[in-house]
Structures are given as C-alpha cells and as structure tokens.
Amino acid sequence: MFSLTINGIEVMAKEGMTVFEAAEKAGIYIPTLCHHEDLSTFGACRVCMVEADGSLVTACRAPVEEGMVVRTDSPEVRQVRLSNVELILANHNQDCQTCDKNNNCKLQEVSAFVGVTPERMQSMRRFVKDEPVDDSNPFFYRDQTKCIMCGICIRACEEINGVGAIDFAFRGYETSVSVLGNKPIYDSRCESCGECVERCPTGALAVKDQSIAEREVKSTCPYCGVGCGVTLGVRGEEVVSVRGTRDHPVNHGELCVKGRYGFEFINHPERLTSPLVKKNGAFEEVSWDEALDLVADKLSGYREQDGADSLAGISSARCTNEENYLFQKLFRMAGTNNVDHCARLCHAPTVAGLATAFGSGAMTNSIADIEEAAAFFIIGSNTTETHPVIGYRVRRARKKGAALIVADPRSIPLAEQADVHLQLLPGTNSALLLAMAKVIVQEKLYDDAFVADRCEEFDEYIEALESVCLDELADITAVPKEKIIQAARIYAENTPSTILYAMGITQHSHGTDNVLALANLAMLTGNMGKRGGGVNPLRGQNNVQGACDMGALPNVFPGYQSVISPENRRKFEEAYGVELSGEPGLTLTEMFKGAGTGDIKALYVMGENPAMSEADTGEVKEILEKTEFLVVQDLFLTETATYADVVLPAASFAEKDGTFVNTERRIQRVRGVINPPGEARSDLEILCDLAGRMGMSGFDFSGPEDVMEEIASLVPNWAGVSYQRLNGDGLCWPCTDEADPGTPILYTERFLREGGRAKFSPIVYGPPQETPDENYPLIFTTGRVLYHFHTGTMTRRSRGLNALHDRERILMNPVDAENLGLNAGDTARVISRRGEVTVEVKPAPQIKEGTVFMTFHFAEACANVLTNTELDPASKIPELKVCAVRVEPA
C-alpha cells in the first residue's frame, strides 16, 4: 500500500494502481476519453492530465508512487485539458442536437467539465471530414465524423471478444477506424456483438432506432446455454433494449449479437394471442375455457380408454424449471413416464456417458474458470458461433498463450487460431479419441497418481487399448498420425487442460461412446476436479440443463432419481398423493414411432418444434398429421403447431417469472417485465389450470417461487435453493442445504458414483450407420450459425438477424462444387435416402472434400428432411450429424 495525496486529501492505493484509479477510489473525478475500465490503457486523448510531483502526467497511465503529491485542478492542468478537448472538438461533427448520444455522450460530459464555451468552439471550428455514415450493419451505424480516435472500439473488439474486426487505418489527418479494405462493416469479420457500440464515448457508434427505456430489470438471456445475464429495458409493454449485466458472473456485461439485439420476437405481431382449436381443418380462436376443457377431456378420455401410456408429453428446454417440473408432474400424475424433451436430440449421450464415468451428467467446471485452462481441446463444438460468450473466453485465453486443439470436420473460425486442427471425417470421433489415448499411454504421459487414487477399472481399460493400432485409427479419421500425436501431447503435457464439446460428439449413433472416450482422456491426464480442467459439454438451449434436472426425461423423476427404484417412487407418490408408474417411459424419438403406430393417442408439445428439429422431418410431419390428438403450446404458430388440434398461446421469457439453469449448472432468475400479448398465459398457469380441469390436486401454486419450494423439497441437489438466494449471482447445483454456497466445480474431492471413484470405460470405434456409397457419395453434416438459433422460431423473426444471415446455403468444398458443375449461387438438389431439399450452393474451402454442410435454422430448406433416424443404443439420440447424400444441379 502506498500513501499519496490528491488535492490535499490523503489516499491509500495499492502498488500498480494508476493515479486515475486511486483518484476514482477516493471519489475524485478526472475526465477521461480514451480510458475504459474493461480495456488496456491507450493514453492518447490526454484529457486526463494531472500534476504529479510538479510535472504533468496522464492519470490513466501514471502509476502511483509512495508520497506522491497529485493535483487535479491546478491552473496548468485546467489549461492543458481545455486545449486538448478543444482540439478534439474542432475535428468533431457538432450536430449534437440530432445525435442519438445527445445527453449520453462522454465528450459532452468532459467538455462541460473542462469548461469549453460555444464561443470558443465557433472560432475553432474546422472543416470536418465528409464521410458518409456507414449504416450497413442492421443494428448500429458508424459515423466517422463523430469519432474522436479514442480507440476504445478497437480495443473492445480485440480484448473483449477477440475478433479484431477494426483498427486504425491510414495516417495523419486521414486516420480513421476501418475494417479491412475500408469497406462497410457488413462486409467485414464483424460479428455484430455490439461490444464496441456499448463502449463508444461518442455518437460515432450508436444503436439504430433505440428508444430509451423507462425502467430496467435483470433477467437471463433466452437463447443459448451460456446463460448470460441481461438487463432488459422496458417502455410500456415493449422491450426496447438489452444490455449485458455488468456484475454478472457469467458474462460481466458481454453479450453476443442474439442476446443483445435479437429481441424483436418478444413484441412481434405474429405472436399467438388466443387459444386456437382446429375445426373442419381450420384454426378458430376460442376461449381458454373451451380450449382447456377440450384438452382435459381428451387427455382424460384416452387415459381411461387406452391407458395412461397412450399419452405422451414433450417438454421444453426453452421453458423455466418450474414449468418443466410441472409438466412432468402432470404426466407422471396421469400415470405415465412418457415425458421427454429435446435434450434427446442434443446431450442425451452426455447425460448417459458422464453419469457412467463420474456419477453426474453435467458440465464439470464453471464458465469463469475456463479462461484459466493452459490448453483447450475443443471437439465437435463451433464455440465462437454457438456459445459466443464462452468463445470470447477461449479467444482471450488463447491470446494470453493457452494452447488450442480443435477437432472438427470443418475449418471453423477457432480452427484458424489453433495449434493443431484435426480435420476428422464426420463420425470418426471415437477413433480419434482412442488414438489420442493410445499416444498418451504409450508415451507415459498420464497422471499415475490421479489414476491410482481416484479412478477404477484402469487395467481393463489399458488392456483394451493395447489391441488398437494407431495407424489404423489415424486412417479411419483421415487425420495424419503426426497431428494426432501432437494433439495428444499438447493435451496431456499442459495442466490444466479442459475439454469443451457439443453436438459434434453427441449426435451420433455412437454418441455415448464418444462421451465416454472424452471422460477417459480427462481421467488419464488427471484433469478432473480442478480449476481450468474438466469435461465440459456445452449445452445448447437456455434451459436444457434445467429441463433434464427437472425430470423432463422418461426414466427419472426430478433430480435424476430413477423411476425404477421403489424407494424413489414411494417418495414421489407420497409427495404427489397418487400412485406412480415404475416403468420408464418413451423417449422423444420413440414417442413419434408410437404416434405413428397409433399406440400414442395424444401428444402434448410444449415450446418445441420437432417438425424441424427431429431427424427425418418428412416422416415426423406425416406422423404429426396422423396423430389423433395433438396439443402445441408455443409463442408462434410453428411448423409443428400447424398440425395441432389445439394451440395454446404461451408467454415469452420476458413475460413471466421463473428460473433457467445454464450450461454450468447455474440456477438463475428470469423476471417478467411486461404482460403477455392478448390472451397468452405463462406455461406455468396453463399447466396448473389444465391439471385442475383433469381433476388433479397439488397444482394450486401461488407462483413460480412456490413451485421452487416443492422442487427443493424433492431434489436433494437443489435442497438449498430458494428464490431469496437466487437474487444475486444464482447458484450452481449441487446445493444441498441453505448454507451450501453451491458447487461451481464438480468432483474436487470425490466423484458422485458409488464408492466415489471415476470409472474408465473401454470403448471400441464403430462407424456411422450410413457411409457414402455410389448413389450417395457425399457425407452430410449439420450445425448452426452465429446469427440464428435452433429452428429459427425466434431469430428469424428479427429483421436484423435475418439481414445478417438471410438464407440457407449448402457449404461444400470448391473442388466438389466444380466436379458437380456447381457455382456459387446455383441451386442444387440435396438428396438422401429419406428426402430431398433444394438449396443454394456456396463453395467454401472450410469444408473438407467429400463432405457438405447445412444448418437446421431454415424451414424453406430444412436439413433434417435428410438426416438419419438411426439411434445411439445407450441414449437413443438420432445420428443427426452424419448421413450420406447426393447433390445434383437443380
């Protein structure tokens, strides 16, 4: 600690602090323009000048010294600040009245403080650069005439998100902030995250058409599983702005383009506002009484006639925990375990695989400690596009020197920055992982002590590994052996090393084996239970973790308590007051089969769009058409809803209270800020009302908080959770009692399996179910892009997001495109054994020869028309990531 005086006041400051920081701490204002607390120091504007021990220094740069005497208000200081600000103003567009940042502009604030007068400004006014406003980005514009060259945007784009889309270009009077080639920003690498816009001190970067909010409320982003804290700005019944919540442990105010700008869906005119019932083939608006009585009658009727197992419910990873909890409660109380949700299509193998290896099927570490990894092994996850804010952390860690291994069939953006990119053939993950394990064992790079102290069945594992051959495995993956060896060494020799993975691992007919293979690697290298390590499945949807936790799964009650166990059953029977089924129910994929054969009479779909997300949607649509009674509860009339008999309008995340669980197991509050449109009601209200009409008791909750109490009483890992405690940062489960602060990192001392040890599982490589042949010579694989989410129900209703990515295009290697006689922009037919789609072609060198890639965001060219329904035997996930197709010019 140093002691110094600022304007005669004694101030204590830590070594390494700047004079600016010390002054700020003491509550003394020093004007700044190019300084930003989130960013490195630039020291260019020189308006922060102060006098320190008699000489003028820039306060944002100068470190404190013992006994330093600082004056922030001497005549010299005032004079030099004034001149510096006047110089900046002289080159600045002076149309403050029409500027969007008027009254919210740092330059105005600083000018007023240093005492700039209009008269002086008039006399100094110089010619201002005549540069047109760049309005190419749908969400913000850039007006270089208002730019003061503070460089904050440039540093934000580099240091916060690691994109580096903009920099100073040209020199002297011509200097400006520019993208490569001085083009409109739309044509650059810019990811539209708005981190620069948020920090620009002037109107040079400003959000388009933003109304000023009348109040702001903290909530959680409704898109991906990162679960960023958002602060919603509200005006009347409209959400008009979203900011990142600065004191939030997940994102510290950072957001991606979807979270920051993709909120148009909330107040969208196409929102459902009234219950609909299909009469003579057309939807008719009806009252809630009519709709819910019909649903209650039908469900009760089938239950009596055909048995409870003729009902099936698809719950929602988009809805809150409380709603998922009630959904499963309703179906289980009706007497069936036929409840599932879209986790079946994403991380079912994770839940199965990680539970086998470690005892619990979730991300082992927290988002905050990812950045501490010394090496990243990212496999089957296009992190920067699908989990952008986690992607920022990866890029930041990389910049600080962390090693990076990327395994992906595509050259995804992170592959560009990787030490090694393992461009494996789709569907050969387990071969690659086996090969890496083989190298680690052969070269004795594994952690003996960890294996001996904390794991079991190592010998069996080693034995199985002996029979595999590195060269053969490398051949299978089409990755050069040397690269695999290099990757294995990087992963094993750095500590801690972390594994991040997603759908590229799970959506395979061997998905569970892939997950087990990853777990084996982490155990071998002792990367479990420590900061910066772990096996980290990145969950796709905002609350897919929570939907699993809440038992929206056919084999477990809330909290992963197996329905087979008589003990668990007794516990829930006591709580619910009815007899419950001990027979595991049908999985999502099996429900559709059942509906196809007529065994399932009534299907209830809450907040999910299987007509686009399931494999082989052609068949799914036929089944939906045939299903005797289909209820769909959603925000919009989705592709699935068009097949429904009854459509129930639901509230969006901005219109209800509740909680989501993000990918790191953090239970967080969601807060209603406006009323639902028209007659729409929250899923919670709808479910409770329906249960009542079906004659069930135990649904008279006063609100979500009340439901959470019931959850906490039944789920041991959530026993310490209450709304009161969730108000701050939320809580990472397990949280077993009121004093438990939660568990950001799992397994620091013991694993959750019986006996407390992690278990090695020998695995063997199995090829994908469908491999290319003469008729279907190309491998088809699917994924997502930054600008859209899932089946596009929400993001495609944002004009801005659509402008940034407006249509589906199949990506293929330029060589394949040429062989097929296809050019950029041509239309092609893509044909698999299950169906065909017509789509525009985009040759892309990022795609490996012999493979083609599409997203599943676009209903007009729906990738899942093509995909394979073959299942992973352990987790019943379809092989969405790989199938064989033929491409022809259309």
């Binding site: 580096g164 920099d167 270009a169 490569l180 560009e416």
Partner: protein, 150 residues
C-alpha cells in the same frame, strides 16, 4: 492467386516483425495488396486482418488497387511546387481521367504524386517508370503520355 501468395509467404517464418517485408514481397509479386492477400498474410502471422490493413495503409508505398502498366510520378517537392507542379498534376489528371492515387480504366497508367525525385534543376519534373521528364508545362504533358502509350 491464393497459391501465389502462399508461395511468397513460405519464405517467411511468420513473425510479426516481418510484416512489412512480407507486405512488400507480396506487393512485388501481385503489383498491389488485395484484400485476399492481406487476409492470407493476417492468418499467416496470426493477427487480425484489420491490423494488417492498418499497418499497410500507414505507409504510402503500398497500393490496394491493381497498378497500371506505367507508373507516373508527378513531383511536388519544393522546387517543383514553386515552378508549377500543381498545374502538371491538374493536367495529368485531366488527360488520364483519374485522380492521383488512381489507375486508368485501360490499366495503362497509375498516377501518383511524390516528393522530390532529386532532379530539382529541371523542375517541374515527372517520372514515368524510370524515365525522367523535366521542365514540363501543362501543354507538353500529352506528349509525354504518348511516348508511353502510342
């Protein structure tokens, strides 16, 4: 084109210190720095492409458009300035139909202004490729051009 760029880059280790020599080498090969070229360089040295552009635009030696067959440099050093260099610039711009820094549509000439080419004695001076023309007047500009594009 990517291939040609990569071949040039292959003789560098990809260190950031080599950025300027790399930009020069690529410009020697292609005649100018295209966006593609700067992207390749950026990924080769592992820095954002906007930074590479920032560095390149800082130096007047780099061109971002294809250059013409002949390089015209009109001198505007002190001596040439006082002897009417600006009129020569005007005349050139009029004759060629491009501004300084530009290239004619037929790709024949690129026009540039420079500082003192070291021939002050015969100011005002124009250089076309390696040929020096002195004591020019606005009306003789045309003759100079015709020598190079008959």
């Amino acid at each position: 084109m990517e291939e040609r760029i990569r071949t040039v880059l292959a003789s560098f280790e990809g260190k950031r210190n080599d950025l300027i020599p790399m930009l020069q080498a690529v410009q020697d090969e292609l005649g100018h720095l295209s966006d593609t070229a700067m992207k390749e360089i950026a990924s080769y040295v592992g820095m954002p492409e906007s930074k590479v552009y920032g560095v390149a635009t800082f130096y007047s030696q780099f061109y971002f458009e294809p250059r013409g067959e002949h390089e015209i440099k009109v001198c505007l050093g002190t001596a040439c300035h006082v002897t009417g260099g600006l009129q020569i610039v005007d005349a050139m711009e009029r004759e060629l139909g491009v501004k300084c820094g530009g290239t004619t549509c037929d790709q024949k000439f690129s026009l540039e202004r420079v500082n003192c080419v070291g021939a002050c004695a015969i100011a005002p001076v124009v250089m076309v490729d390696d040929d020096v023309y002195g004591r020019l007047e606005a009306k003789t500009v045309k003759e100079v051009l015709e020598k190079h594009a008959p």
